[in-house]
Symmetry: C2
Subunit: 121 residues, 2 copies
DNA sequence: GTCGAGCCTCACACCGGTGTCAAGGTGGGA
DNA sequence: TCCCACCTTGACACCGGTGTGAGGCTCGAC
C-alpha cells in the first residue's frame, strides 16, 4: 500500500511515517515512480511504534527492540551482538521500572477517583 | 533543605528542580536571602515526578495528578472540578494503555533475551 | 491536455525537557 | 578581608517528535 493508506489505517501523519523510515524503524520499497510501497504488516508495526513512543521510548531504542518482536521470533535470531544484548537487558529493566512506576501512579489516581466518586455523592 | 541537598538526594540537577518549580510541580519557601527551602517530603515528590516524566507524562498532566497522590489522600480532597475529574479519568486510561503496551513489549524483549541466552549457549 | 490528488524532498519552526553559561548576591572559614 | 561554595535569575542552545509549507513529479479522470 502507499503512504496515504498506511497513514489512514494507523492514524499517523505521512510526515511521521517518513520520519520513522528515516530513523530506520520501518522500511519501504519504492515503485518506479519513487512512491513508497508498504507491506501489509507495517500497519501493526507502526501501531507498535506509536505505542512505544507514547510509552516514552526514544526511536533509537525502539529501533533496537523491534527486530526482536517479529512473529517468527524463535526462527531467525538477528545477529545479536553482546552490546546489543546488554542494551536490551538494560532497556528491559528500564521498562519494568517504568511499568511499576506507572502502575503505582495509575492506581493512586484510580483510588482517588474511586474515593471522589464514592464520597457522599 | 536547600536546593543543593535536594539535588543530591534526588539525583536531579538544580536546573531541573527550578524548572519543576516553575512548572508548578513543587513549591519552596524562601529564606530571607532568597534561597529556596524544601520540606523533607519533597524528596519523594521529586522522585515521583521523575518517574512520571520518564514514563512519558508531560509536566502539565503531572501537575494535575500530583495533588491526588499525597499520603493523607482521603482527608483533604482538593477542589475537584468536573473537568479535572474528566482529565484524570482520561489520563488514567491512557496510563493503563501505556502500561499494557509496555508490558507486552517488555515481555517480548524478555522472551527474546531468554531465547537467545537459552539457545545452544 | 489539463486538473487535481497524491506522492516526493527539503527546510524551517515549535514545544517540552534539559544542559550550560553569564553575572551577580550570600555567607562561612582561613 | 578575601575566597570559595552555594545560591539567584536569565538567556541561549540542543535534541527528539511533530507540523507545515514550498516546489516539483506522477497518474488517473475528464
Amino acid at each position: 500500500m502507499r503512504i496515504g493508506e498506511l497513514s489512514e489505517r494507523t492514524d499517523t501523519s505521512r510526515r511521521l511515517l517518513r520520519y520513522y523510515e528515516e530513523q530506520g524503524l520501518i522500511i519501504s520499497s519504492r515503485s518506479p515512480n519513487g512512491y513508497r510501497n508498504y507491506e501489509e504488516n507495517l500497519v501493526d508495526r507502526v501501531l507498535q511504534i506509536r505505542g512505544l513512543l507514547d510509552a516514552g521510548l526514544p526511536t533509537r531504542i525502539i529501533k533496537q527492540i523491534l527486530p526482536c518482536l517479529n512473529k517468527p521470533r524463535a526462527i531467525h535470531f538477528p545477529d545479536a551482538t553482546p552490546e546489543m544484548l546488554a542494551t536490551l537487558t538494560l532497556e528491559r529493566d528500564r521498562m519494568t521500572r517504568r511499568i511499576d512506576c506507572l502502575i503505582r501512579n495509575r492506581d493512586a489516581v484510580s483510588e482517588y477517583l474511586d474515593a471522589v466518586s464514592g464520597k457522599r455523592g
